[in-house]
Amino acid sequence: MYDVVVIGGGVTGCMIARELSRYDIRVILLEKEEDVACGTSKANSAVIHAGFDAKPGTWKAKMNVRGNALFPGICAELDVPYKNNGSLVVAVDEGEIKVLDKLMNQGKENGVPGLKIIGHDELMKMEPNLNPAAKAALYASTAGIVCPYEFTVALAENAAQNDVEFRFNSPVMEIMVQNDGFIIKTPHGAVKARFVINAAGLFSDEISKMAGAEEYTITPRKGEYLIFDKNFGHLVKRVIFPTPSEKSKGILVCPTVDGNVFIGPNSNDIKDKTDVGVTREGIEEIIEGGKKLVPHLPLSGVITSFAGLRAVSNTNDFIIEASRKVKGFVNVGGIQSPGLTSAPAIAETVIEILKEEGMDLIEKPGFVPTRPRKYRFREMDNAMRQKLIEENPAFGHVICRCETVTEAEIVDAIKRPLGAKSLDGVKRRTRAGMGRCQGGFCSSRVLSILARELKLDPRQITKCGPGSEILKGGYKEFIAEGDENKFLNAQDVESLSWKGGEASVM
């Protein structure tokens, strides 16, 4: 019998699990995918918002401002790169300037420090590549950027270190409510727990319904992104927003903590909660949107596109509450933007809710707030590199040349708590394959290292869990018996048709 089961291994679920791991209780986290951060948490704007967007009094406003204040400390504790680079909401006409004033007042009411309106000249000095038509901007000094999957992985690793159990490939199929708790059925067996935290993201409405708790709906709202080569990492320094609309904060031009710049997201409500396909229209839309902020986008430097889904609840606010219908069931749903920023504050709130619901939470003495050391070869100086290679020669073997990721880092990503099991798992932990060649060079090498370390046949290695195997078969496996001579004629023709004079290509 577990004390708490957390459903969902996104940033919200992992943050809650990590905070629960401070206490002397048994906690398990169930995740339907093969790894944490496989849904909304891996594909979003990665912005730590200041907190002026949300209407005062909403969960979003409260959690955002508190989360923003907690974020740098947690990142420092878990060795997750965090950059407090500030944000700008840019206005291009008088009407928009009025919106800036409104946003600033709203921010002040929400308790956001460090807000000020900046005029055209200062703005252009701060961001020379910005549209010269920009008239003014709302500057928020407390905004920042983080890598959302690295942050989520770090939380999960730390939770696992502090004895939270994780069960992957385990979608919840049924929730049975009993007198003393819940039985939660997954394809890998049932789990019994006193409390359920529903942090199932896009599927939290379905989980709530499964338990017979309050009904609400989650609509997936797609956002598409284009990400640029690090060569263009200087394009903007701060998070650049347009003046927001009712529906979203608009299409950003924004640096990432790892040194790229992205544009996006657009905002389209869709039906399918698994539809993370990028569309032609979407790409055009975000390019057009991005150009309004930065007219000269280096479009030839796009290295990849992706789409993420926001979990939008019918209340249009976060739902953070203990069920009044089902004792012991806590809903944490509708965590759309600013969900990443809010995660630390949401976890705090959930702890309070559990206490109110009668849970005894006693801090355990052995809690370790840090995670095992993380090595980032590309960021080290040469003296440090030398020292590490002397200790472990695998640090001298560069596997991903675009991002300078070494074999030692990849092996570490596999062997860490909740280690990587797939190419994407390695990618999210090390950045191998995230550079300009998008794994063209290193993916076959990473696949070999995964097979070696996990003692699997290379054909079993996946991109992102069962069903996404990279290789379809072995050498000669597809040649049916009797087929060996099928192309003999074709080859004869080839040698006959050879005229010489030209050599072949690679």
Binding site: L226, I227, N231, V276, G277, V278, I283, S300, V302, I303, T304, S305, N382, Q386, I389, P393, A394, F395, G396, H397, V398, R401, C402, T404, C437, Q438, G439, G440, F441, S443, S444, P458, R459, T462, K463, C464, G465, G467, S468, E469, I470, L471, K472, G473, G474, Y475, K476, E477, F478, I479, D483, F487, S497, G500, G501, E502, A503, S504, V505, M506
Partner: protein
Amino acid sequence: MLCKDLVIIGGGPAGLAAALEAAEQGVKDVMIVERDSGLGGILQQCIHNGFGLHVFKEELTGPEYAQKFIDKLENTGVEVLLDTMVIEITPDKRIFAVNSRIGVLEIQSKAVILAMGCRERTRGALNIPGFRPAGIFTAGTAQRYVNIEGYMPGKEIVILGSGDIGLIMARRFTLEGAKVKCVLEIMPYSNGLTRNVVQCLEDYGIPLRLSHTVIDIHGKKRVEGVTVAKVDENLKPILSTAEFIPCDTLLLSVGLIPENELTKMTGADFDASTQGPMVNQRMETSCEGIFACGNVLHVHDLVDFVTMEARLAARGAAQYLKEKDGSCRGTKVIAGEGLRYVLPHAVCVEKMLDEKLNFFMRSTRPMNKAKLVIESENGIVKTKMLSYLKPSEMINIELKKSEIEKAEGHLKFILQEEGVLQ
């Protein structure tokens, strides 16, 4: 810190030929730094034949072609550092590299030849819509899986782009028992060598669909199919022609990009068309004593020309080491109408290594018949009639030293299509 006369970055066909030539020219302290565990670069996985007709007058496979150089290298005293990745180079030719045996190496070289090759364009660079499942490979990555690792990355394959590696892989996959459903090319003409279209597609009955592209990728975990469509003259998909093709793999052969991340650190001037550094007649970049050759300079279609270019770079480096002269630019070379680029970008006549110089260029579009005009400020230097031109097949023109000497101001290359209104 190590001190070397000449460091060659990259041990593929360009680096190998440069090293051998440098040794033959009497350059003493030569070192190749190679990140892979063996020499030969991409040739190691190019197990098809057709290499070496210009250089060796015989038909070799990629590994055989590379081995000819590797064998000769043994008695030259050229030092080879394998499994070693260069991570930094400074304009004054200081190189930082890492490997497992030594750690971080610092090498001060008197001259450097950049021979890092190229990488493949990816799906991201094309903005192909759809999901991002397993089963999308660049042709070269697939080639490595099949020819080096011994695994089949796909069974039912659609190939986007008719670049040569894609064509070669269409045949390779077919011979390995996979089904290649078609090769799609967005342009109205193939981007590979004509002989590869004939020998890799036509001989195996694989359809080449020109003016077609992929407009959607289906499958959340693994590719389940692609939607393809015809494109109009502006290369925009015509949605009414959309058609679903089931497949488990999408292979991309949509171009190669010179791998110039290190070159950029030297501050050398770049050519936006080739995406490589600008070089003079001895393949020297605008950064004195730093030379470039092979696919890092511009993407070649024939390895034989890589070899020739690398030899020129090595002789240039030898000349530089001997005479300690700077990166002289002399006469500027301009790619005019009808041409994407011309190499070299400048000629310093007094430093020419031979009595003649070869110029390499690519046309902007296919032309059945065209007149190449080379002019300077004081008139036409040379004209030549050319036929059956394709952007994928490099044009090679030789000019005599006496012809270049006469040219004033610049050398401008223009390609005038014959039989059409200009």
